[in-house]
Assembly symmetry: none
Homo-oligomer: 144 residues x 2
DNA sequence: TACTAGGTGGGAAGAAGTGGGAAATTTCTT
DNA sequence: AAGAAATTTCCCACTTCTTCCCACCTAGTA
């Protein structure tokens, strides 16, 4: 299980260290995709296979399914982890998630998320303020 | 699986490099067809057989199926990949998809799409604005 | 204070994208 | 039908970006 929050930097060569604690679980290759709320997702190849299978069950002839598949498949990249645990995030994904130098890497159960540091702070603040309201919503649908 | 986004140029001789990561899967010959939403599709010969079979199963009695088939079959061309991974896109296909010099090549699962650079940027921006809707779709098919 | 572990940075070798030239094939004209 | 011209195809070369490896630095710990 991937948990925890780590602040790392992207160096001049656009390399990003994965937190030590995540490396064993992530393995030597990972798949980076556009995420939600402005972050990037990082999956292990096997998890990505599960997700892509679900995605592929939609028809090419439907316009919303097409755009959705383009978004996810076109935005996904398999990158290899170098000998000391770093990955190279392609430019088009960095742009999309506004990743510059300071990023926050978070473990969320079975995936890793990469956030722009400021975006993450704002988001976290927002969530903390709304925590009570969110808890009530979750409660009302039977989560907690 | 074909994934990722690559920006390439069409040179003066109208040659287009396929991204290195796609070459192995695409092989020595590919089929280029008019795509949807203003792009071109690139299939492997075997994938093209699957697609064309599906298309030909649609009823010839429906006028929209007929026109769509004319659109796809009439515009399809088999081209060979040269020794360093480039293809030659016929002029009538370049015109149709407004391909000039800067193009974006995207992997979408089992096909490759070729986009005019600007058209792709616009399209991507449009899709990204729909992120919330996309998130709900992800939930509804059980991805996240 | 010294040692270890993890994060950051840089240089060199290699690969990939782009461009150009020469040869071959086709087509048009005389 | 033959020659010339133009287009295509194959191959090679250059340049830029990537990738791999090694070194440093900082922080935490014994």
């Amino acid at each position: 299980m991937l948990i925890g929050e780590y602040t790392h930097t992207v160096d001049d060569k656009k390399r990003l260290s994965l937190p030590m604690k995540f490396r064993k679980e992530l393995g030597k290759k990972v798949v980076v995709t556009p995420g939600l709320d402005g972050c990037l997702f990082v999956f292990t190849p096997s998890q990505w296979r599960v997700i892509s299978k679900k995605l592929s069950e939609s028809s090419m002839l439907q316009s919303d399914a097409r755009s959705f598949n383009r978004y996810m498949f076109g935005g996904a990249v398999e990158v290899s982890v170098d000998s000391i645990g770093r990955i190279l995030v392609p430019e088009f994904l960095r742009e999309r998630s506004h990743i510059t130098d300071k990023v926050v890497v978070i473990g969320v159960q079975d995936r890793v998320e990469i956030w722009n540091e400021k975006a993450w702070k704002d988001y976290k603040q927002f969530v903390e303020r709304e925590a009570d309201t969110l808890a009530e919503k979750l409660g009302s649908i039977g989560v907690l």
